[in-house]
Amino acid sequence: MATAAITTERDNYLNHEYGIRSWLLTTDHKRIALLYLASITFFFFVGGFFALLIRLELLTPAGDLVLADTYNKLFTMHGQVMIFFFLIPSIPAVLGNFLVPLMVGAKDLAFPRINLLSWYLYIIAGVIYVICIVTGGVDTGWTFYTPFSTAFSNTKVIEAGIAIFIVGFSSILTGLNFVVTIHRMRAPGMTWSRLPLFIWAMYATSIIQLLGTPVLAITLLLVVFERAFNLGIFDPTRGGDPLLFQHLFWFYSHPAVYIMILPAMAVESEVVACFTRKRIFGYNFVAMSSIAIAVFGFLVWAHHMFVAGISLYSALVFSILSYLVAVPSAIKVFNWTATMYKGSISFDTPMLYAFGFIGLFTMGGLTGLFLACLGIDVHVHDTYFVIAHFHYIMVGGAVMGYLGGMHFWWPKISGRMYPEGWGRLAALLVFVGFNLTFFPQFILGYMGMPRRYWQYPPEFQVLNVLSTAGSTILAVGYVLPMIYFLWSMRYGKLADDNPWGAAGLEWKTSSPPPTFNFDEEPVVTWEAYNYEEIPAPLAEVPVEQ
């Protein structure tokens, strides 16, 4: 046993049982988290491959790498894969599944079998989507606008719609599990105000998953029905309304972006607290801001439709509401920054990702103000400005949060340390590559380059070349962690229970944890982030100059 790949001497969830059945039929939330990790990583590289092809095509103004139809499929599938099969599950299904029971002091999630079911739904959906890809793909844009998707596209819209419908249920079940677990399975003494902010943010995420995703489900189902049975609900030649589709679609898809960012904010709070050795400044405000984002997030969907043909008055209402939802996000950024004041800061890889997150999320969030502004949005809607904005948040924000979280909790998950030098290098490459890829796109957007363009006028080329160059650096930054995480599972330094000296119940059990998480049921008598009682890991502290 001592020479097996990922073992410590102690019985833990990884060496508890061997064999493929013990993994495919597991109900252990930690194993399910790893199942998800493998699956979403696969889809990340599928979506990333599409992105690379897109950026290669855009090196030149002419459409000379792939056919126009192929390009349209590439950006559609890049979006759908990245959003539905990578970003939305990522932190909740990997880190959330792993950590929520540990952080609240429970032995597992409330419904372990439903947890496994949610992974199988993800896999079934993934298989259907891969079939969709290899049998021709889909070219409707990730947004499926009607009547193009219902009556004009000649691609696998039904298959893609069904796949996303199913993966939506995976998301709903994950959210359901988290909400019930957080409400009903906290350890004795773990009051709401003692919960880590990670849990607050995951709770808010779960509420959105629960209430928003079903609307996407019914909307996609109606699109599938319309295509399959030639209904006319969205067909203007039969009295149907394409704008109805847009309202229904965005009613989910706007809150969806908060499903993607709130978990990254969850990670941010934990990492900043640990690497400044401080309780997060303004705990109550950060906790409440998560809830506020979830609630307000449901009220702003038509800011995607300012030029779609909605009434002037609707536009005014949605614009103003969109500014309201920006406030809680700003509050978080200020609080994280304030936490650094009089902290004791170290610069391990998770913290580098945390710094990157604040910077990039701030930039992305500020550009959201541009888009919420009616006068500006008319000009930049459906241009590269929007693409840059959402990539700043989803890649610069959510993916960096995900990577930061993976590095932070890797010792807990695997029992091994990743190589710190490589970790920092990858973080730097991601940060530099990301900015080079996406900052030029703000300029492109204001200049008027529309999105989803296979070919473009020559004056846009220089910025496109810069963007593509950046994407190659970004790609290297993403591949590195794949390699060294895998490497560390065999050769990484063994981790002890709490290598970072972090607060939180998950650090009070072994790395990796035993199958039922704790040797004894924890009884919580301390506040969250009690860093004054936890010594910093000595090895990290440099000798005073």
């Binding site: 372990p112 359901l176 019930v180 009903r184 609900i233 009295g239 229904l248 039922f516």
Partner: protein, 233 residues
């Protein structure tokens, strides 16, 4: 398996080991089911929203389409579902009181009512099929145009009514089928004596789900069948 020195209490095999006690398990199941029903409300809500908008825009077509449905079959189905909710509620009570045979009878009755509902719905759909009111290539509402000369009907808008009719009743029926399936499982386990006054959570959860499906129908019935049943001029 669990090495946590929690207070050892008498519990049957139904207590799952990640729960501290039976009460936590039951509370979790209940909260979970209510949350799930909330998602179902959002799911049906999208269709209700579409219905609302098109009914306002195409009132005449909706009214005529509504009249073309068989109000008696719809009413009977409503009664059937209400009765089935009664049997469900009584079944939960029977489980609470440990009356196994009564529970089994009530569960079976519920299933029978469920099948009755689906059967009647099948008859209604078949009627629509015969009348060419199913959206698609053979959709034809000349009969309605003829029968209601006093209102102007645009066949395309009529098709929207029927699209929504089939989508809404179809998804409702699908939920009924799933409910019946679940109740078949419940009946099987009830026969084996699994549900006792100490543990009847699945019966209760099944009951909640069934009541929800019933309530959706209580909304669907007036919205689809009773739009305008005033006597014609």
């Amino acid at each position: 398996m669990s090495n946590s020195p929690i207070a050892v209490e008498e519990h049957g095999p139904e207590l799952l080991h990640h729960f501290v006690d039976a009460e936590q398990q039951r509370d979790a199941a209940t909260l979970g089911m209510w949350l799930f029903l909330a998602t179902e409300i959002m799911f049906f809500g999208g269709m209700f929203c579409a219905y609302l908008i098109y009914r306002v825009w195409y009132y005449n077509e909706f009214a005529v389409g509504s009249r073309s449905l068989d109000i008696w079959l719809g009413t009977i189905n409503t009664a059937v579902l209400i009765c089935s909710s009664l049997t469900v509620a009584l079944g939960v009570r029977a489980a609470q009181m440990g009356k196994r045979n009564l529970l089994v009878i009530l569960l079976l009755l519920t299933i029978v009512f469920g099948f009755a509902f689906l059967g009647i719905k099948g008859v209604e759909w078949y009627d629509k099929y015969k009348e060419h009111h199913i959206p698609g290539p053979s959709f034809n509402v000349d009969d309605l145009v003829r029968d209601y000369p006093q209102v102007h009907i645009d066949p395309r808008h009529e098709q929207i009514y029927f699209s929504l009719y089939f989508a809404m009743t179809g998804l409702h029926a699908l939920h009924m089928i799933i409910g019946i399936g679940f109740f078949i499982f419940l009946t099987y386990y009830a026969l084996k004596g699994r549900y006792t006054p100490k543990y009847y959570t699945p019966v209760e959860m099944g009951g909640l789900y069934w009541h929800f499906v019933d309530i959706v129908w209580i909304y669907l019935f007036p919205l689809l069948y009773l739009i305008d049943r005033k006597p014609l001029r």
